[in-house]
């Protein structure tokens, strides 16, 4: 029962637009587990994501509940939910250096300039980018950017992780290695993960339950 409370729960979640039901999901994602949501484009994947993040447009209606560690997220703005999000592209802020991007993500609970800089540097070492702090994000390769984005999200100390097709823009060589890095880190941090993808290989690699939406 305790274990049931921790993690991300989609409790009889139904999303609809007008009279049309887009999708229904009922699932519990325990810490360290992955739920893969698969479906073709236009199947309502992005609507599900916005419901989870808290940016659902007024045109959509949501029934059921979204619980994070037992707490109902209804009505909470994105910044209060502490759900980390990895985008299709890395979404690094182009006007900040790599190190500043990470410091931007790093939780304010880490105090003091020296301490914060050290955590950022350690984060960079962990993703194999030691000494990259002063670099312009635009000079990084796609794989490097993806790793920085992952570390930026983790440094904010999220309670859950959403992956919005974060591997789809990477070339096949890097894809597998980034994917396993992300999934490994999430497991290590005991984060419940929801992976939205249209790629069968992603879902298989994730290893968890697979929910298919938008199918005839």
């Amino acid at each position: 029962m305790m274990d049931k409370a921790r993690g991300l729960t989609l409790d009889h979640l139904t999303l609809s637009k007008g009279t049309e039901t887009l999708l229904s999901v009922d699932a519990h994602v325990a810490p360290g587990d992955v739920l893969s949501v698969m479906g073709p484009s236009g199947s309502g994947k992005s609507t599900l994501l916005s419901a989870l993040i808290g940016t659902l447009a007024p045109a959509f209606a949501m029934q059921g509940r979204i619980l994070l560690d037992g707490e109902d997220l209804a009505g909470k703005p994105p910044e209060a939910r502490r759900i980390g999000l990895l985008f299709q592209d890395a979404m690094l802020f182009p006007h900040l250096s790599v190190g500043e991007n990470l410091a931007f993500g790093l939780s304010p609970d880490v105090r003091g300039r020296v301490a914060r800089r050290q955590v950022v540097e350690e984060g960079l070492i962990e993703i194999g980018l030691e000494g990259f702090a002063p670099r312009d994000p635009a000079t990084l390769s796609g794989g490097q950017r993806a790793r920085v984005a992952l570390m930026r999200t983790l440094l904010a100390r999220p309670r859950a992780l959403l992956l919005d097709e974060p591997f789809s823009r990477l070339d096949t060589d890097r894809r597998a290695s980034i994917r396993s890095l992300v999934l490994e880190r999430a497991r290590k941090e005991r984060l419940p993960v929801i992976l939205v993808t249209h790629d069968e290989a992603d879902a298989q690699a994730a290893g968890g339950r697979v929910v298919r939406i938008g199918q005839e």
Binding site: I53, E79, F104, G105, P158
Partner: protein, 565 residues
């Protein structure tokens, strides 16, 4: 063939139309500032004019006013726009803000200033609404609200007009950034809406609106018509004083005016430099705060403030125009009644006939200036399309150049040059002076839709044997009807609102709705001001209404053309 080759020279001609008058005007100001004005028989080079200017007792206050009103109005406008965007961009409420402010952009500065003056004057609407029940004022209070010595009402008037401008420029810039996704990235990291927007989106937007912000700064530091209506007159701002000296029958005072114009130019450069330093300092401080990772969620409390400021501006501008309209029909209107005791047509019957002359010359000048600007713009853009003669960064900067040099620094010089060359002031010089200020806005308005046109249609038409000119006239321009009319309307509105070019280059002999309205400022005949202000507003607004309606009528049976209506 020759027409096609001629197109190559249009960009150069356009730059000449923009830069020529500015350069000539600056030279024409520089020479008399150092004592050389042969038209008045003055040929002694020297610094006497500057010495005289320095001896003018009003100078320190006048200079301080120009600096403070300009910098404060610009900073305040930018702050309101930034906080409103940070708090509301992408929300349904924001679309409402956008829709209510866009038509206000075209309201001429003088009309907006008169409207605000009617609101905040001691016997204005605001005092009337609260008197005597709340204030106890049985008669208009003896307060110096308008034209206060600190220039506060001038700042209010400037902010009300510059906020819509900066907001629309920012919205255009936002289209080129991934604003909503950047904001989402910041929010999922735990940042508040306002703080997240400021840190992630603002730097990208500001980079693109920097030149418009500079334009606002230069304009606010050197504006004449708004300062005559709302600004202090003990002493005036430096720009107003320059115009007063220029209008003096004593030609020797022109030397002092020219010296003051040079000082004005230096002041504006100083203001721009101060702004740049401010930018740099701001960015440095922001970076230091940012790496601390504070989520700044309490900044979201500014959302109410920014929405309130925008609402206040929209209401003030609308109510100001309504006030102009009401005064124009007002019979006896006793204090403290909120409405006139009766509405009559007498003012219109008295001033209506004399309105026709200025109305005609306003329409003629605006039509010619906007028409010339539109033809040059189309020529430049088509040359870019056919020959790749593209305006690069330097070109974009030159486009803004006339807006970055204070009008009071080079228009007096143009007048002096014309005088020295024995040229008659009249319609055409005024039209060409208007083109200098109209062209940048027409170009900025048309460039994006023109460049976004699907060039595969060009290839399709050419492959069927249509000439390049044929494609332009029969395919491209008809398809771009809506943006062309919008650009034309922008040009007309800018021209209608021009005060100083008409006054100085026209040598005081060309009378438009704007020059007549501003001339009424000192008289205080509210009914006449109401009529001229309203006529000026309508002259600027009606073309926009036509620009929206005409394409809808023309393309009513073409669904594929409706999106840009």
């Amino acid at each position: 063939m020759s027409a096609r080759r001629g197109l190559r020279f249009v960009p150069a001609l356009t730059l000449l139309a923009l830069v020529g008058p500015v350069a000539a005007g600056l030279i024409g100001t520089l020479l008399p500032a150092f004592g050389y004005l042969p038209a008045a028989g003055l040929t002694d080079w020297g610094l006497a004019a500057f010495a005289e200017l320095g001896a003018w007792p009003g100078l320190p206050a006048s200079v301080r006013l120009s600096l403070t009103t300009g910098l404060i109005a610009t900073a305040l406008s930018l702050a309101i726009v930034t906080l409103a965007l940070a708090g509301w961009q992408g929300t349904p409420a924001f679309r409402w803000i956008e829709r209510s402010l866009s038509p206000l952009l075209s309201v001429p500065h003088a009309a907006a200033a008169f409207g605000i003056a009617f609101l905040i004057a001691p016997s204005g609407w605001v005092v009337r609404l609260f008197s005597p029940w709340a204030t106890g004022w049985e008669r208009p209070p003896d307060l110096l609200i308008l034209q206060d010595p600190a220039g506060i009402s001038l700042i209010v008037g400037l902010v009300a007009k510059e906020v819509p401008f900066l907001l629309l420029m920012s919205l255009a810039a936002l289209g080129q950034t991934e604003a909503s996704r950047s904001l989402l990235a910041a929010r999922t990291l735990g940042y508040g809406r306002v703080a997240g927007w400021l840190v992630t989106v603002f730097p990208q937007v500001y980079r693109q609106i920097r030149l418009p912000v500079f334009v606002v700064l230069v304009f606010s530091m050197s504006v004449v018509d708004v300062a005559i209506i709302l600004g202090p007159n003990t002493p005036n701002t430096l720009s107003v004083q320059i115009v007063r000296w220029m209008g003096d029958p004593d030609l020797a005072l022109r030397l002092r005016a020219a010296a003051a114009a040079m000082l004005q130019l230096a002041l504006v450069f100083g203001g721009l430099l101060a702004w740049r330093i401010g930018e740099w300092a701001f960015a440095r401080i922001a970076r230091r705060i940012l790496v601390r990772g504070r989520r700044g969620c309490m900044l979201d409390r500014t959302r109410g403030l920014s929405a309130g400021a925008i609402l206040l501006i929209a209401v003030a501008l609308f109510a100001g125009i309504a006030g102009l309209a009401l005064w124009s029909f007002a019979g006896f209107w006793s204090y403290p009644n909120a409405l006139p005791d009766m509405l009559i047509l007498r003012s219109w019957m008295r001033h209506g006939p004399e309105l026709l002359g200025p109305l005609g010359s306003t329409a003629l000048i605006a039509g010619l200036a906007a028409g010339i600007a539109l033809v040059l713009t189309i020529g430049c853009l088509e040359a870019e399309h056919r020959h790749g003669v593209r305006m690069r960064r330097a070109g974009a900067f030159l486009l803004y150049l006339p807006l970055l040099i204070p009008q009071t620094a080079f228009l007096p010089g143009l007048q002096t040059l014309m005088l020295s060359a024995g040229l008659q002031s009249g319609l055409w010089p005024v039209v060409l002076a208007h083109v200098v200020f109209v062209l940048p806005y027409v170009f900025l308005s048309l460039a994006d839709p023109f460049r976004a046109w699907d060039t595969r249609l060009d290839i399709a038409a050419r492959s069927m044997g249509t000439s390049a000119d044929g494609v332009l006239w029969r395919v491209r321009l008809p398809m771009l009807l809506a943006p062309l009319l919008t650009a034309l309307a922008v040009g007309l509105a800018v021209s209608v609102g021009q005060y100083l070019p008409t006054l100085l280059v026209g040598g005081g002999r060309v009378q438009t709705l704007t020059t007549e309205a501003v001339a009424l400022a000192s008289g205080g005949d509210r009914r006449a001001i109401g009529i001229y202000g309203l006529a000026q507003t309508l002259a600027a607004l009606l073309p926009f209404a036509a620009a929206v309606l005409v394409p809808r009528l023309v393309w009513r049976n073409r669904r594929g053309m409706r999106h840009d209506g």
